[in-house]
């Protein structure tokens, strides 16, 4: 299973990349599994996640081809 991962704002600076492709051996993985794979930062309230451009949480089950984004709390407008 392959997913596309994107990082934004201060989290992109911390991770050091803006996007990447990540592969999993098994057919099932959660956002939490992905986060552990790509980062050493502990999951917390200050890391938001979206799958296919919809807000979700760390328990979300991923499918092949998903686009997953990690970013800090928004500060728009």
């Amino acid at each position: 299973m392959k997913v596309k991962v994107r990082y934004f704002a201060s989290l992109r600076d911390k991770i050091g990349r803006s996007d990447e492709q990540v592969s999993f051996d098994g057919a099932s993985a959660t956002v939490s599994d992905l986060w552990t794979k790509v980062s050493n930062i502990p999951a917390s309230d200050s890391i938001l996640v979206a799958v296919n451009m919809e807000y979700t949480n760390m328990n979300h089950k991923l499918k092949d081809g998903d686009e997953v984004a990690f970013f800090p709390p928004v500060t728009g407008g």
Binding site: F8, A9, Y55, N57, F71, P72, V74, T75
Partner: protein
């Protein structure tokens, strides 16, 4: 209902005037409520010289449309238009425009306020400020909405 993400300077009054002429049937709406948010030259006590606004192309538009649709479902409004700047900007630059047309002004006021509140609270934008001392830093929270972003996706 339309969302526009702009990389260049925005003239909010021209934006709303053009949209109204192109998209609204004449003579049917009783009024429009507009909110224009501009970049101030101070934030949390720093003297801000410039700002860069990051966004998530695709999700940002989709999320704002969702917020607008919620306003359309909740109030009796005829149309709504949101324009949001991204990229580099300086103090006095307009950042966001929310316009809501309706037959009765009460609906426009409520819907406009709803859209700007939830847009600020939840739409994927991130401010990076440059102070007069040349220091760049990501803004940690919106000064008007401390902590509210944390409520998303719970």
């Amino acid at each position: 209902m339309k969302v526009k993400i702009l990389k260049d300077a925005m003239d909010p009054y021209k934006e709303v005037s053009d949209y109204e002429r192109e998209a609204l049937p004449p003579g049917k709406h009783g009024g429009v409520v507009l909110f224009v948010g501009t970049m101030r030259d101070f934030n949390d006590g720093n003297d801000v010289r410039a700002m860069s606004l990051d966004h998530y192309p695709g999700m940002t538009e989709k999320h704002i449309e969702k917020v607008m649709q919620e306003a359309h479902d909740r109030w009796d409004i005829m149309d709504s238009y949101v324009v949001h700047r991204v990229g580099d900007m300086v103090p006095t630059d307009p950042i966001v425009l929310v316009a809501v047309w309706s037959a009765h002004r009460r609906d426009s006021f409520d819907a406009c306020r709803y859209i700007i509140n939830y847009l600020k609270e939840s739409a994927p934008f991130w401010k990076c400020e440059v102070t007069k001392a040349g220091v760049k830093h990501w803004v940690e929270h919106n000064s008007e909405d401390p902590g509210v972003a944390k409520r998303i996706a719970k």
